[in-house]
């Protein structure tokens, strides 16, 4: 035991070594001398090691270097040992025959070294870099794109990919972002990274002040969702909740009226429906959950209007059944609140009121489609029964509507052959919830009419214009409704995507452009524009302008307002210009709306007719996402 300890205490230089060393220096040593010397050498070595340790400590290192040892020697008046300062490990070799151990010391050809052409560059310059490591003593605050700790367990390649992608998407360069998103959409090998991307996306809550970042994150969602190689599994839930956040939360960004958070909400809603339709089956009960949360927001009067707006567009994006089930029943209650907002003409209320009009517009669009779809969904043979109903004017385009307007890519016409709302049902499968009794269409229409009055009607009336376009359904519709319009010279046929009008009752007034016409033209415009609803790019300006004329004089009696559509109203283009302009300068946000509203509108319900005229802007007219489409007009609510 004692011997053990002694041995462990320190290395010793043996007598024989000393003798050998002496021999190499040409000296003969007796055993006794060698033993004494050996002991002394050991002691001196230990002493030098001891004092070199303090040089190490003061250099704030944990590793003792040759340099430290040399310093200790120097201060003990012993010559330093040169030639061992290299960072590389020394090769320690032995020669078997002589039992010799030595450090390999190769000759170095200095000439070669001096004339070498591959001169090393030298190391990078010493620099100081500051980074905030901990904020308020909490958490690691990394710059965007830094890696959450858990990711570090990934392979290097994946890690790099992750970093590059997140940086590109959240970074400044739009082109890079596009590339990154494209890759994210098509890369087949990133399944392992999915949780981390989902984690990044869940960061929406921390950037609610930054529309741009929110937008980017939503794009990321879209790419992930569209990636055919990814199985989202239960991450759908997380993605949906991030998207819902964007739709429903009163984002910090919306405090500033100049921020166009409406577009964001619209886009998020679109995305929500997309996720739902494509991946909704992965999580049971998702549909119900979404509807519940939307309903909760809608029925909560304390929430700001922008949240309500989000709920409405969200419902709308989920399809008319969702609207019917949630929005419609809540409308009476909600209407009162909205009414109060819209009726308040005080200046201080202007902002809120403008928001209110947004909601109004969104509701209008939603219920219109509801009505239309409802009408369409009625079995065709039964149409007779609804003949007298002004509401049952479902156009032939109903077929197409069935596809729950998802992503920008155009819906193939071929889909027209599908059963109505087939997607809807499929998507909503298993989600039948609550006692919910469908309201018959007529009742629904009359109720809605009581809210919206003619503004509802006008839209329907104009719609008929493209009823004609669809060759398969034309005649009986007209017959049932005794509609004059029907097959008017139908320029619309050119259009690929007949759609519900959504939003475009743009008042010419509002744009302040010289070409503005009085209200009637605006109506004409609306009529013509309805086809634009599709969010994607395919809307053609030209066709819509042509359509304007079509509606002339076609108005049915039932929809008195239709009269206003003046055949010669200015080409609808102007309205686009307006919209485009507003949206183009996005920072100007909604100011124009606001200014216009203040003087004009009387309460809508009381005087439906008047109201319709005065409510030109209600629908959302805006460009959904700058990058997405060039068209200023894209409504981004696909109908």
């Amino acid at each position: 035991m004692a011997a053990d300890r002694e041995e462990r205490r320190f290395a010793e230089v043996s007598r024989d070594s000393v003798k050998l060393m002496a021999e190499s220096a040409g000296l003969e040593l007796g055993d006794e001398v060698a033993a004494l010397l050996a002991e002394d050498v050991c002691y001196r070595l230990r002493e030098a090691a001891q004092s070199s340790a303090q040089f190490m400590r003061h250099a704030k290192r944990k590793k003792l270097t040759v340099d430290d040892f040399n310093k200790a020697l120097r201060w003990s008046n012993v010559e330093a040992i040169c030639g061992y300062g290299a960072q590389d490990a020394m090769l320690f070799r032995s020669v078997k025959e002589g039992e010799l151990f030595f450090v390999e010391d190769r000759d170095i050809n200095l000439i070669e070294l001096a004339l070498a052409t591959n001169i090393p560059k030298g190391c990078a310059e010493t620099m100081v870099r500051a980074n905030v490591a901990y904020l308020d003593g909490k958490g690691n605050v990394g710059p965007q794109g830094t890696v959450p700790a858990a990711v570090q367990s990934l392979s290097d390649d994946l890690l790099k990919y992750y970093q590059q992608i997140t940086r590109a998407i959240l970074g400044e360069d739009p082109h890079l972002m596009k590339v990154a998103l494209q890759d994210l959409q098509s890369n087949s090998k990133i399944a392992a990274l999915l949780p981390y991307f989902v984690y990044v996306i869940s960061g929406v809550k921390s950037v609610s002040h930054d529309l741009e970042q929110l937008n980017r994150l939503l794009h990321m969602v879209k790419s992930l969702v569209q990636n055919p190689y990814l199985y989202l599994g239960s991450y759908v839930r997380s993605l949906v909740s991030s998207v819902m956040y964007c739709i429903l939360e009163p984002l910090a960004a919306s405090i500033n009226p100049l921020n166009d958070h409406w577009t964001l909400r619209d886009y998020a809603a679109l995305l929500l429906s997309h996720i739902f339709w494509t991946h909704g089956d992965l999580v049971s009960g998702l549909y119900r959950q979404i509807l519940l949360s939307l309903q909760k927001v809608l029925s909560d009067p304390v929430r700001p209007l922008c949240s309500h707006y989000g709920a409405v567009v969200g419902l709308h994006a989920l399809g008319w059944k969702a609207v019917e089930r949630v929005l419609f029943p809540h409308l009476p209650a909600y209407w009162a609140n909205l009414q109060a907002v819209l009726d308040d003409y005080s200046v201080s209320n202007a902002q809120v009121k403008a928001d209110g009009h947004k909601v109004y517009g969104a509701i209008l669009v939603a219920v219109e489609r509801l009505l239309k779809m409802k009408a369409l969904s009625l079995p065709q043979p039964a149409e007779g029964c609804s003949s007298s109903q002004p509401g049952c004017l479902a156009g032939p385009m109903g077929y197409r509507v069935s596809s729950p307007g998802l992503s920008p890519p155009p819906e193939p016409l071929a889909e027209a052959g599908l059963g109505i709302a087939s997607h809807l049902q499929a998507g909503g499968a298993g989600c039948q919830w609550e006692e919910w009794s469908p309201v018959p269409l007529p009742a629904m229409y009359s109720e809605l009419y009581s809210f919206f009055g003619d503004s509802l009607a006008v839209r329907f009336s104009t719609e008929q214009s493209f009823g004609g376009f669809s060759p398969c359904t034309p005649s009986h519709f007209r017959e049932t409704r005794k509609e004059p319009l029907g097959h008017v010279s139908n320029p619309d046929t050119t259009r690929k995507m007949p759609q519900l009008t959504a939003n475009l009752n743009i008042s010419p007034r509002q744009d302040g452009s010289p070409r503005t016409d009085p209200p009637p033209p605006s109506l004409a415009a609306t009529g013509s524009v309805r086809s634009l609803a599709r969010s994607s790019m395919q809307r053609s300006r030209a066709s819509s302008s042509r359509s304007g004329q079509r509606s002339i004089g076609l108005s049915r009696d039932v929809f008195p307002k239709a009269r206003f559509t003046s055949p010669h109203s200015g080409p609808p283009t102007f309205s686009f210009v307006i919209g485009g302009r507003q949206m183009g300068r996005r920072c100007q946000g909604r100011r124009p709306f606001q200014t216009i509203f203040v003087p004009t509108p009387p309460p809508p319900v009381v005087l439906p007719r008047v109201y319709t005229h005065k409510l030109p802007v209600i629908g959302r007219v805006c460009k959904p996402l700058r990058r997405w489409t060039r068209s200023h007009y894209s409504l981004h609510l696909p109908l």
Partner: protein, 756 residues
């Protein structure tokens, strides 16, 4: 008399009159000494004469006695007792020239001794003489300074060092006898008496080695080294490697043992117990060692517990004596000069327009009221002369006050944000870091002898124009200060070349005009941050200078190094103003008290000393660390001191009472950096273990109840509450934390070199 291989080693004993503990300093291999250049000059020749004290004779005999006689003779001569000396010489039958020849060689301080040729047979005598000389000089001072007297080893002690001995084979029995006794006493005494083990063990071992009983010594070591407290492990390792008398000469640890008395604090009861036991057993050997090499500080009252003892022990020379910490320390802060805040305060304008007049008043009042009240514990404003404030200093003070108003109030629930300055590509080795008080500049000292200064604000570093260019400047213009700067030289980084060894210490002057760096080359350099050139090289430490720091008021600075002394300098003097000697090993870190009247030094002897700048006295000795101390920090109110060491512990000290008041455990490696937040609520510690830890200093100091008894006896009761006080542990990425700094707004800056 064989001459050992290292015959040329000098063996010098330096005693400094400033402090009253002689510091016996032997150079490692021929390293000469902590020479302060005042009391003893270390003449190069001194080395040639001295070999080992005593001689190599195995047993005491006539020559030994002759030596003693010579020593006494020398002493008499030195004390100018010529007649007595003559009588003694005659009576002893010594030759007239017996001691003359080597006197000068050995000490150079014996004016009466004529130089002579060194002779082989005189070697013993001369080395002895040198020791005597020192001792006598110390003794000579004793009467003058009463307090000093008892600290001085008297002549006989030095002379008899290890020379008298009993039977080597009995040492084992003596020690085990004592061990048995101590183990058999009552519990309450056992802890106290156990303190005796270590010093006794070391001295007995050394005696054995000294008297060439190598094998016995080894056996003794084997048998009993395991009993010693674990915190002495390092010293024991050194001890174990030492088995030859010849090796003792150069070994510093041993010298410390031989020349300084190991201090123990024992209650009177325990002491009586011990004394009775030793007398009964006639155990003279141990008794002698206790008498000669130990200092037993006896106190009345309850014996201390084991934990109490452990908390305070661990230093190289035992605990501090109680009276060492009795001196009054003026730890209060100096009155801040009253500075009118300028009325056209653009900052305030920007911040609150309507409240301007209102705000001004209370602020001024609060300033005024604070400064009017003189802290009873503060030193007189003029106790040491301080530089006058320049206009630029006043501006800076105003900036400081403004910033202070925006300071974040920290606390246990409001922790500071940490910003880390990482030195990248520092392959040459980062050894020291400092940040200016306003956090605008950061400087690094590197192992490649360079000092690099970075600007961490957008403002770049510029040099002053050359003299020729300066002549062209319109000196009347308002922006002359701007015009003198050479825009072409603007850069983020300036490198200062000049040292010829690693730069271990670095410090900005408070006015940011100067930078100090201390290096392994033994010099301290003063650099101008206007011209980025070296202004002065202060030479004095002849050995590596481990640390240096500017006084908070500028002008003065302190340095400490391998030569075991700390020096106080003024920038305009090339020689030190004060020399603080007393540490038994390297001074590893130095720090100024916020009031600039005191200097704290931490050392490898595991003690911290507080020195009075005014008179150079050591006013506090803090023991309790179990490893070399590498970090010190005064609390902003000047009342407390925090220290960090290689043992990974932070200890907190109450300066006024001279007591340890807290122990913060958590770090797993050497603590290189300590800093209090600006208001003193948080203590941050940075360590080699790549973490920054934050401690609740408020709580640590608030919970204190220093009663009179504790203050009087120095018995402390430490609660083990490190975990409660630890507010957070913050990892870096493979970066040891070398420096910490709280900005004026209480953002914590940390710095270190990335070490992949």
């Amino acid at each position: 008399n064989e001459s050992a291989p290292q015959e040329s080693e000098s063996n010098q004993i330096v005693s400094c009159s400033k402090i009253h503990i002689p510091s016996n300093h032997l150079g490692g291999f021929n390293r000469s000494n902590a020479n302060d250049g005042r009391l003893l000059s270390s003449s190069p020749g001194a080395g040639t004469g001295g070999t080992a004290t005593g001689n190599n004779k195995p047993a005491p005999g006539p020559p030994e006695e002759q030596q003693t006689l010579l020593a006494v003779l020398q002493f008499l001569k030195k004390s100018k007792l010529a007649e007595s000396a003559e009588i003694l010489r005659r009576e002893a039958g010594l030759p007239e020239d017996a001691l003359d020849p080597k006197g000068t060689d050995a000490s150079g301080s014996g004016p009466g001794l004529a130089a002579g040729s060194g002779q082989v047979d005189g070697v013993d005598a001369s080395s002895l003489l040198s020791r005597v000389t020192v001792s006598s000089s110390a003794a000579a001072q004793a009467p003058k300074k009463a307090a000093a007297g008892e600290d001085q080893p008297d002549v006989s002690v030095v002379l008899s060092a290890y020379s008298q001995q009993g039977d080597p084979s009995l040492y084992d029995a003596y020690y085990s006898g004592l061990k048995r006794f101590i183990e058999s006493v009552l519990d309450c005494h056992r802890a106290e008496l156990s303190q005796l083990f270590y010093p006794l063990f070391v001295h007995m071992y050394l005696e054995l080695v000294y008297n060439n009983n190598e094998s016995v010594a080894k056996a003794f070591f084997e048998k009993f080294s395991g009993d010693q407290e674990c915190y002495y492990e390092q010293d024991l390792r050194i001890l174990s490697s030492l088995t030859k008398k010849e090796h003792m000469k150069g070994n510093e640890t041993l010298l410390d043992f031989r020349t300084s008395k190991f201090v123990l604090r024992i209650s009177r009861d325990s002491y009586q117990l011990l004394k009775r036991h030793l007398q009964e057993r006639q155990n003279n050997q141990i008794w002698n060692i206790i008498q000669e090499h130990l200092y037993i500080d006896i106190f009345d009252g309850m014996p201390r517990s084991k934990s109490q003892i452990d908390a305070m022990s661990g230093s190289l020379a035992g605990e501090a004596r109680r009276e060492a910490n009795k001196a009054k320390v003026f730890y209060g802060l100096l009155k801040e000069p009253e500075i009118e805040l300028p009325l056209d305060d653009e900052d305030e304008e920007a911040e609150n327009e309507e409240g301007k007049p209102k705000k001004k008043k209370p602020k001024k009042d609060s300033m005024g009221s604070k400064s009017k009240k003189q802290d009873p514990n503060a030193p007189l404003q003029t106790r040491i002369p301080l530089p006058e404030l320049k206009d630029s200093d006043k501006l800076d003070k105003i900036m400081y006050m403004k910033e202070s108003t925006k300071r974040i109030r920290l606390g246990s629930d409001n922790l500071p944000s940490i910003c880390f300055y990482t030195f990248l590509n520092a392959y040459q080795g980062l050894t020291a870091v400092d940040v200016t008080d306003d956090s605008s500049l950061i400087a690094g000292g590197f192992a490649d002898s360079t000092v690099r200064v970075w600007s961490v604000t957008p403002k770049k570093l510029r040099k002053v124009k050359s003299a020729a260019d300066l002549n062209l400047i319109d000196k009347e213009s308002d922006d002359v200060l701007e015009r003198i700067m050479d825009e072409k030289t603007a850069s983020e980084l300036k490198i200062l070349y000049g040292h010829s060894g690693p730069v271990y210490g670095i410090s900005f002057s408070p006015d940011r005009n100067y930078l100090l760096s201390s290096s392994e080359d033994g010099t301290i350099r003063l650099w101008s941050l206007q011209t980025f050139t070296c202004l002065v090289g202060y030479k004095g430490h002849n050995y590596p200078v481990w640390d240096t720091q500017f006084s908070p008021y500028g002008y003065y600075f302190v340095s400490g190094g391998h030569d075991r002394v700390a020096r106080l300098w003024a920038t305009d003097h090339y020689q030190p103003l004060r020399i603080f000697a007393g540490h038994l090993a390297d001074i590893t870190c130095t720090r100024f008290h916020p009031n600039s009247n005191y200097v704290a030094t931490g050392s490898s002897d595991r003690t911290i000393r507080l020195w009075d700048v005014l008179n150079g006295n050591c006013v506090r000795i803090f023991t309790g660390h179990k490893g070399p101390i590498h970090a010190l920090a005064f609390s902003p109110n000047g009342k407390f001191l925090a220290s960090g060491a290689t043992d990974g512990r932070v200890l907190l000290w109450d300066i006024g009472h001279g007591l340890m008041v807290g122990e913060l455990k958590g770090h797993t490696d050497t603590i290189y950096s300590l800093r209090f937040s600006r208001d003193g609520e948080i203590l941050a510690s940075g360590s080699m273990d790549n973490t920054v830890r934050l401690w609740d200093a408020m709580k640590a100091f608030d919970d204190l109840e220093t009663d009179d008894f504790t203050a009087a006896t120095g018995h402390i009761h430490l609660q083990d509450n490190s975990q409660e006080l630890l507010l957070g542990t913050y990892m870096t990425k493979s970066t040891p934390v070398l420096h910490l700094h709280f900005t004026r707004r209480n953002l914590l800056l940390a710095a270190g070199a990335y070490n992949p």
